[in-house]
């Protein structure tokens, strides 16, 4: 079996990790394992390494062979493959499509649940509220309940100027 990083030397270091119902295997040669810190329990994060590899493959597929490059920081998929890390917050937008699938395998969900900075909390709640109202509005129009639709439209209009889109990376 060849090392899954360099694909040159034989793999002598093997890792298996079970997360939930997923089993992930990693076969490394001695020097790649050392380079990635895999022989050092303190510094080694299996998931980081594994997902770093997985991510670069996914990003390559999503890019369809062409090279995705972050306009903000110039980070490319090749850089991702090397480090397993992204270049800057804006990279999340650049590589969004590929990351989406990857995050599914990595985490409990693909949407943030938890703390939100106080300054963004309000605008976030408003955004959610508007989304809900728009859904109701579409339903009202479909059911030709124009009175309700008018009321919903007013409410949306009222919320909108106070809801600047939350800054996105």
């Amino acid at each position: 079996m060849l090392c899954c990083i360099c694909k040159e030397k034989p793999a002598t270091v093997h890792y298996t990790q079970i997360t939930g119902d997923k089993t992930q295997k990693l076969d490394l040669c001695e020097s790649c394992a050392k380079a990635k810190g895999a022989l050092d329990a303190g510094g080694f994060a299996f998931a980081d390494l594994l997902f770093g590899l997985g991510a670069s493959q996914e990003i390559e597929q999503a890019a369809g062979g062409s090279t995705l490059k972050c306009p903000q920081c110039g980070f490319t998929q090749a850089d991702f493959k090397k480090s397993g890390r992204l270049g800057c917050p804006a990279c999340y937008q650049t590589f969004a499509e590929a990351l989406e699938g990857l995050l599914k395998t990595m985490h409990r969900g693909t949407r943030h649940v938890g703390k939100v900075p106080a300054a963004l909390r309000q605008s976030r709640e408003t955004t959610e509220r508007i989304k809900l109202l728009q859904k109701k509005l579409a339903q009202a129009i479909e059911q030709e309940d124009f009175e309700l639709a008018a009321r919903l439209r007013d409410e949306i209009k009222q919320l909108t100027p106070r809801a600047p889109a939350a800054p996105r990376p």
């Binding site: 329990a41 920081c73 850089d79 999340y92 693909t110 800054p167």
Partner: protein, 367 residues
């Protein structure tokens, strides 16, 4: 101020106590945060890292929690000082390897430590002795809330706090506890426990040693997933699992004493014999034997030995702490000799372990 003047002396840190500290040595909650308009530290060029450090460090140091804190850039610290911080679990090994453009803010009682430009712009940690995950989370949550008013965080509505590695995305939280598990290791139950904890999406790893070995029977349990689950839910999940591991460890100790007392006495007696009499001993062997000595204290086999002394020895026999006591640079062989001298001296008044008569007093919670 010099780092060694700032740090709490080991004899004192060993006296910190908390709930379940027979088994849970410490609790930690770490948050990863990044600034909106800057490249992550691993990709940023040195001038940008320095700019980010100069922006973040004063903001952190001015927090009320950081009154009289130790503030340093990593290139101001000697390699030995960095290693001391690693041995105290205040910074990661990765952070110790950084120099210009990375920094550190450590508060007076060492309950908060913020690493600047480690893998993320900010890695802030709250540390507590014993099992205190909730308290650690509440503490770091408050610090983070203060800081978000002073620094522009990278945050996305969909993906939460944006981190250099996608494995930390979302909450950016790592909740962890350091456990001393000699009972389940001796009872050979550690592997099934690790496997079942892994199945719950939590990671268990030896804190010291390479590969799969866990020196000193010390393990760290932590969450792995950070997206799609709230901080409170993660803390709660970890608390439940830790309660079970604590119970396993207590049971294992009780059953071992009951079913295989000779095995237990043999391990602990030999550990005492070597630690109190050796003239050269490695750091590895010391950790493993001190673990057994600590177990002996927990089982009341050493009436005149305080657990705090064992914990102090665990810290001061590690390479950097040992080196710090001597002015000249020591080779590994010299360290082994001085380590043994230190252990013999500190353990010279400790009497050999007693043997508890069958049905004698026990230290287990349910006699």
């Amino acid at each position: 101020m010099q780092l060694d003047q700032f740090l709490t002396p080991p004899a004192e840190t060993a006296r910190r106590s908390g709930p379940h500290d027979r088994i849970v040595l410490s609790s930690r909650v770490r948050l990863a945060r990044n600034l909106k308009d800057a490249a992550f530290p691993g990709w940023a060029k040195k001038p940008e890292r320095i700019r980010v450090l100069e922006l973040i460090q004063p903001a952190v140091a001015s927090l009320p929690q950081m009154k009289d804190a130790f503030v340093a850039a990593m290139d101001q610290l000697t390699p030995l000082d960095k290693q001391i911080l690693v041995e105290r679990h205040l910074i990661s090994r990765e952070h110790a390897a950084k120099s210009a453009g990375s920094g550190l803010v450590l508060n007076r009682d060492e309950s908060y430590c913020v690493m600047i430009n480690e893998e993320d712009h900010l890695r802030m940690q709250a540390l507590r002795p014993g099992l205190q995950l909730r308290q650690a989370w509440a503490a770091i949550d408050a610090l983070d809330t203060e800081l978000e008013a002073r620094l522009p965080y990278a945050f996305s509505n969909d993906w939460g706090y944006l981190t250099a590695c996608p494995t930390n995305l979302g909450t950016g939280i790592r909740v962890s506890a350091m456990l001393h598990l000699p009972g389940v290791v001796l009872a050979e139950q550690i592997n099934p426990i690790i496997q079942s904890v892994n199945k719950l999406g939590l990671a268990v790893r030896g804190l010291y040693g390479e590969g799969t070995e866990a020196l000193g029977n010390i393990f760290q349990v932590s969450n792995q997933m950070t997206l799609g689950e709230s901080e409170a839910a993660i803390v709660e999940r970890l608390e439940k699992v830790l309660a079970q591991i604590i119970e396993h460890e207590e049971n294992a100790r009780e059953v071992l004493l009951e079913k295989k007392p000779k095995v237990v006495y043999n391990h602990i007696g030999r550990a005492y014999g070597i630690l109190a009499n050796a003239h050269s001993i490695s750091s590895k062997e010391t950790m493993n034997l001190l673990s057994l000595l600590r177990l002996g204290v927990d089982l009341e086999l050493f009436p005149d030995l305080d657990r705090a002394l064992v914990d102090e020895l665990f810290l001061i026999t590690q390479p950097a702490h040992l080196q710090k006591m001597y002015s000249e640079k020591l080779s590994a062989e010299e360290r082994d000799v001085l380590r043994a001298d230190l252990l013999r001296e500190r353990l010279k008044n400790v009497k050999r372990p007693v043997i508890r008569p069958p049905n004698g007093p026990t230290s287990a919670p349910n006699p």
